[in-house]
Symmetry: C2
Subunit: 248 residues, 2 copies
């Protein structure tokens, strides 16, 4: 082959696997969820601002995982948390979820399994996949990530869901158990993410890091994560650009 | 799409995922290991009958897992068991493994990560992959199965290693936890295997079953598993033939 893998200056090791945060980094959750919320609202005659609803549903994501990270609640997979949060977001809008058909709510909950990739994601992952192990390093559960890959055409080599590590980022075990499943030293694993806090935790756990800018993840008024806030190993405006920097 | 998935008569459900036993069913472990044993013996000037050694190394596989299945020993991944068994097999041949370079033994142990597919495997899996989720349901650990896929070109959608279920077939949890990661009812998962005992356990756990004949897995004198020994849902002489029967 003669391919020389990228060597991380911060870990001092060649990178063997490039793992991606998914929600926001590889797929556009806001557009994908809003699209399905709009269709749901029309079908059921309920008044919902689709983008605002997507934002509020997503805003319940971190608090739900916090209960598990802190040990207050035993591990529950993300599909379960999303489903609970959907009820809560509907109630915030004055809608009683018990008055809506359960199977349609379940279907709407699966919108997180059908998120569209950013336009550059598939091409960039396919290039990196030729020279590195590629996979998600996401808080999504395995079946969610598998459906997402199937729908979006993501060429993952391996899917290690949070239901396999049984913990949620940014706890260090989320990164370390993933490296362990791959039988790699943490320093041989790179996290690529659009979120500085995720990269900070990955670096603390000993991983290599790459920042990918996704300045419209939260819509046109985004204020956070517009730029790298650490000396991450690599910084790229897109996944193909990251492929370039990895020599792939 | 209009594709009608195969419906298992024994489970009464449409099959969504077709999962494969790997050692013997998808890959030819005996040829692959013997090839590397022969090269190792030459390189280190030790006398080893390569096929006989592969058979004896493999014969230690079930007893090693038995200690874990019975609870005598806590879970250890297959790479670890293979490595211990390699030392034991060498000693059976009067060779002291401590007199051989540790890193070369480690490399020989990785021969299980580089097993060649049977000639029909890749074509058959690629066809089934178009209409079903495909993956291994193997006692191999994740990194072993990932390397195997990469080396043999196996188009898995998902890899659920035994280090993720933390148990070994034929214990029921090995099958049930795999279905759970996929968020599928056990009856929507089909195990395809060349081994009747594996299929028996899968059926008992509620899975759909397919027998694939591999009459030379153990070499020319094979006596076991030459024919189906249960009324498995499907019986096929090869993986492409299984694809035919699945309508894929």
């Amino acid at each position: 082959m003669g391919f020389e893998p990228y060597r991380s200056p911060s870990t001092g090791r060649p990178v063997r696997a490039v793992l991606f945060d998914t929600f926001g980094t590889v797929v556009d959750w806001r557009t994908g969820v809003a699209r399905e919320v709009a269709a749901f609202a029309t079908a059921h005659g309920v008044a919902l601002d689709a983008y605002a609803f997507a934002d509020r549903w997503r805003a319940l994501y971190q608090p739900a995982m916090d209960a598990i990270r802190s040990g207050q609640r035993s591990f529950a997979k993300l599909d379960t948390l999303h489903r609970e949060n959907l009820d809560q977001a509907l109630r915030q809008d004055g809608i009683d979820p018990d008055q809506l058909p359960a199977e349609r709510l379940e279907e709407l909950n699966k919108s997180w399994h059908r998120l569209p990739p950013w336009p550059d994601s598939v091409e960039g992952l396919a290039r990196i996949h030729r020279h590195y192990v590629v996979g998600p390093l996401s808080n999504g559960n395995t079946s969610l990530l598998l459906d997402m890959a199937s729908n979006a055409g993501l060429p993952w080599d391996v899917i290690i869901g949070s239901d396999m590590t049984r913990t949620y980022k940014p706890l260090p075990e989320a990164y370390l158990r993933t490296a362990e499943f791959l039988d790699l030293h943490p320093g041989e694993v790179m996290l690529a993410a659009a979120h500085n806090n995720d990269l900070h935790a990955a670096r603390t756990a000993g991983l290599a890091t790459a920042f990918i800018a996704r300045p419209t993840e939260h819509g046109p008024g985004q204020t956070a994560d517009l730029a790298p806030e650490g000396d991450w190993d690599l910084v790229a405006p897109s996944i193909p650009d990251l492929a370039d920097r990895l020599g792939a």
